[in-house]
């Protein structure tokens, strides 16, 4: 629905009930005023010469009474008729609506032919009754039972709910309560206009009302045009992928709205850019990961193929090739775990899911995981855990992967017949734990060790296949330690290899 149509309909929806209400209030008060005036007229008339005439000839008295001249119903209130020639003569009128005139006995007017404003109005009709409400005049109408009932002992009875009709009928009790003219039924109309008590008497007032309505609709024009311009601006901005701002000059609310659009557009653009960046990072990561995993897989396939050839030729299987194949498989497993973790760390979406971690059980799992491959290399893998369990508040997956990386690095960079030991103990009266991985392998040159301690292992270097670089595994250890707030110390071990200490606070189970 267009704005203008909506406004027009809304105005109508509000105005129509309001006008109806005013019209009803107008009719009610006008009717009430007419009733009061008619009753007053009746009393004054009867107190004047009316009673005298009525009681003199009750069989014929009744009908239209001459009313005082004047416009509108207000005139009725002004006072009693002053003319003496208002004596009823002849048959009573058939109805209450008669053109006012010198005639007291006019023919009945047709219903609906309402007196116009400014025109002559019908004079009131009076009929007299005795206290029992019997009329001596056969032309007098029967007193309506409801009106009689409403009169009771009161001085005045009126119809309820009569406001919608222009006809006014009241039953008035006279100050005397005997004789044939003790009660008078008076009939009149709420002449001259249909409107008048509150609203202006003519309907010309509707003209400025509709004019105002038209003005409001016309005033909508500039607003509607500005909204159309804003729509066009937003569409134009959308067409450029929200790269250009939504511009609408001015200082009004619509310009404000345009600025809000522009701000929202900026936020959306920033978020889209961030999403793009993440998506590219993810794509790059997937490509790198695939590459990283494919190399050891290719090597593994090579080993398996060599074994297959020797088996096919009936030759004995070469143990070194078999061990190398197992090595590759173990490496792939560790790599995939590390890559998955690195992906989560890189995405920045990693939420540490900390909880009490049984470190003795964790050490046990790590040793059991790597012992099969250590055995193949004739590397002894030993561990020591205290008798009493030690708990830490940590993310078990991350911590286990970190410890696992330390142990696996120690095994992988090792010569045969070497040693790797994993020692868990507590310090400071059980306040801190320390996981130590120590080996007697080749170790890391002092200068490189210092560099790793300072910056950790990052970027491509982290992905390089060890033994040259320390690899992704150590990078993850660094990051896990930092995430948990644990300390990580790498140093040359007293046995010639590397000694790594990962330490942090203990927690209750």
């Amino acid at each position: 629905m267009k704005l203008r149509l909506r406004l027009a309909l809304t105005t109508l929806a509000v105005a129509v009930p309001m006008l109806l209400g005013v019209w009803i209030a107008d009719a009610v008060s006008r009717h009430r005023a007419a009733e009061v005036a008619l009753a007053e007229f009746t009393r004054m008339h009867m107190l004047g010469r009316g009673r005298e005439r009525c009681e003199a000839d009750p069989d014929a008295w009744g009908g239209e009474m001459p009313r005082p001249p004047g416009p509108g119903p207000g005139e009725l209130e002004r006072g009693p008729p002053r003319s003496d020639d208002d004596a009823p003569r002849g048959p009573p009128p058939a109805g209450p609506r008669e053109h006012a005139g010198p005639r007291e006995h006019a023919g009945p007017r047709e219903h609906g032919d309402r007196p116009r404003h400014g025109g002559r109005v019908a004079p009131p009709q009076l009929y007299a009754y005795d206290p029992e409400l019997h009329a001596a005049n056969p032309a007098a109408p029967l007193v309506p039972a409801e009106l009689a009932a409403r009169l009771g002992d009161d001085e005045l009875a009126t119809w309820p709910w009569a406001w919608w009709s222009p006809e006014v009928e009241v039953l008035v009790r006279m100050p005397w309560d005997t004789g044939p003219c003790a009660v008078v039924l008076a009939r009149g109309t709420t002449v001259p206009g249909w409107l008048g008590a509150i609203l202006p008497a003519t309907s010309t007032w509707l003209v400025p009302l509709f004019a105002l309505f038209a003005v409001v609709l016309a005033a909508m024009g500039p607003i509607v045009r500005r909204i159309r311009r804003l729509t066009a601006e937003v569409r134009r901005s959308a067409a450029t992928g929200y790269a250009s701002p939504v511009a609408l000059s001015g200082r009004d609310e619509l310009a404000e709205l345009a600025r809000a659009f522009a701000e929202a557009g900026q936020t959306v653009r920033a978020e889209l850019a961030e999403k793009d960046r993440r998506e590219q990072a993810l794509r790059r990561f997937l490509a790198d990961t695939t590459h990283d995993v494919m190399i050891p897989l290719t090597v593994l396939q090579g080993h398996l193929s060599a074994l297959r050839e020797r088996a096919g030729a009936g030759q004995a299987l070469e143990l070194p090739t078999l061990i190398a194949a197992m090595d590759e498989a173990h490496y792939i497993a560790a790599l995939v775990h590390n890559l998955a973790l690195a992906a989560r760390l890189d995405a920045g979406a990693l939420q540490l899911q900390r909880g009490p971690v049984d470190l003795c059980a964790l050490v046990e799992r790590v040793v059991m995981r790597h012992r099969p491959i250590a055995r193949q290399h004739a590397v002894s893998l030993e561990r020591a855990t205290p008798e009493a369990p030690i708990f830490a508040d940590a993310d078990v997956t991350l911590l286990e992967q970190a410890v696992s990386n330390l142990v696996y690095n120690a095994i992988r960079h090792h010569r045969s017949d070497g040693h790797v030991a994993l020692i868990l103990d507590s310090h400071d009266a059980g306040a801190h734990f320390r996981v130590r991985v120590v080996d007697d392998g080749p170790g890391i040159p002092a200068d490189e060790l210092a560099r790793i301690a300072e910056r950790g292992v990052r970027g491509n270097e982290a992905r390089t296949r060890a033994p040259e670089g320390q690899g992704l595994g150590l990078d993850i250890v660094h990051r896990v330690a930092a995430l948990h707030g644990y300390s990580l110390h790498l140093q040359a071990s007293e046995f010639g290899g590397l000694q790594v200490d990962l330490a942090g606070p203990c927690a209750g189970p």
Partner: protein, 224 residues
């Protein structure tokens, strides 16, 4: 000795076959369910251990675990391909005894199964027996292959400290602190001297092993 019954719940055919074979070769009686369903009381009689893959189609592994734990204390070893901490923590909370992340070596699986089934060594508090070694704690007497061995107080305490956790490596630092009552670094060398004398007294079949970079261990014969 009757074969211990292991229930394997694993939907992958290849992996299931391998695990069942390995456990069978290692002397276990294996019941293999290829799909997840709740374990009713009479389903697998004399059940010693359950190996449960958490990522089963249909019934979620956690539901099986929860249902089982409500009625039974049988050890449960959970297999998981997920590196999600919440999953592991939840499995342990629901009563899993241990979990293994895929991939794993067959030896690893066997070690973990055996570790779960290993019953605590029942021994009277005052008498410790490890292989040919017999230690009477109350009487302060030590017998090696039936032969009485005279030990000093420190040597006796050293031996009992190791014997309390047979097969487990104990650090020299801990032994020095708890046996010699000293935290000085030099005390570890003193400890080595005591161990050397103790070994001599126990003879050529001394069960005291040196563990590289850690300390000492009393060989239990079953701990690798």
């Amino acid at each position: 000795m009757t074969r211990e019954r292991v229930l394997l719940i694993e939907d992958d055919h290849e992996l299931g076959t391998q695990i069942a074979d390995q456990l069978g070769r290692a002397g276990f009686a294996v019941t293999w369910w290829k799909e997840g369903r709740t374990i009713e009381a009479g389903d697998v009689p004399e059940l010693a251990l359950v190996i449960l893959d958490l990522m089963l189609p249909g019934t979620y592994g956690m539901d099986i675990l929860k249902d089982l734990r409500a009625r039974s204390e049988v050890p449960v070893l959970v297999l998981s391909a997920r590196s999600d901490t919440a999953d592991k923590v939840r499995a342990l909370k629901l009563g899993a005894d241990d979990y293994m992340t895929k991939p794993f070596w067959p030896e690893e699986l066997l070690e973990r199964v055996k570790a779960r089934l290993r019953r605590p060594i029942l021994q009277r508090v005052e008498l410790v027996e490890v292989g040919p070694l017999r230690i009477d704690l109350a009487g302060h007497e030590v017998h090696m292959a039936g032969r009485a061995v005279e030990l000093t107080r420190v040597e006796f305490e050293l031996l009992t400290a190791l014997a309390r956790r047979p097969g487990v490596a104990i650090t020299r630092k801990w032994l020095a602190e708890h046996v010699l009552g000293s935290e000085l670094p030099s005390s570890e060398r003193t400890l080595d001297v005591h161990v050397s004398r103790l070994r001599k007294k126990l003879g050529p079949h001394s069960p005291i092993e040196t563990v590289w970079a850690i300390g000492y261990r009393l060989a239990a014969g079953r701990e690798p």
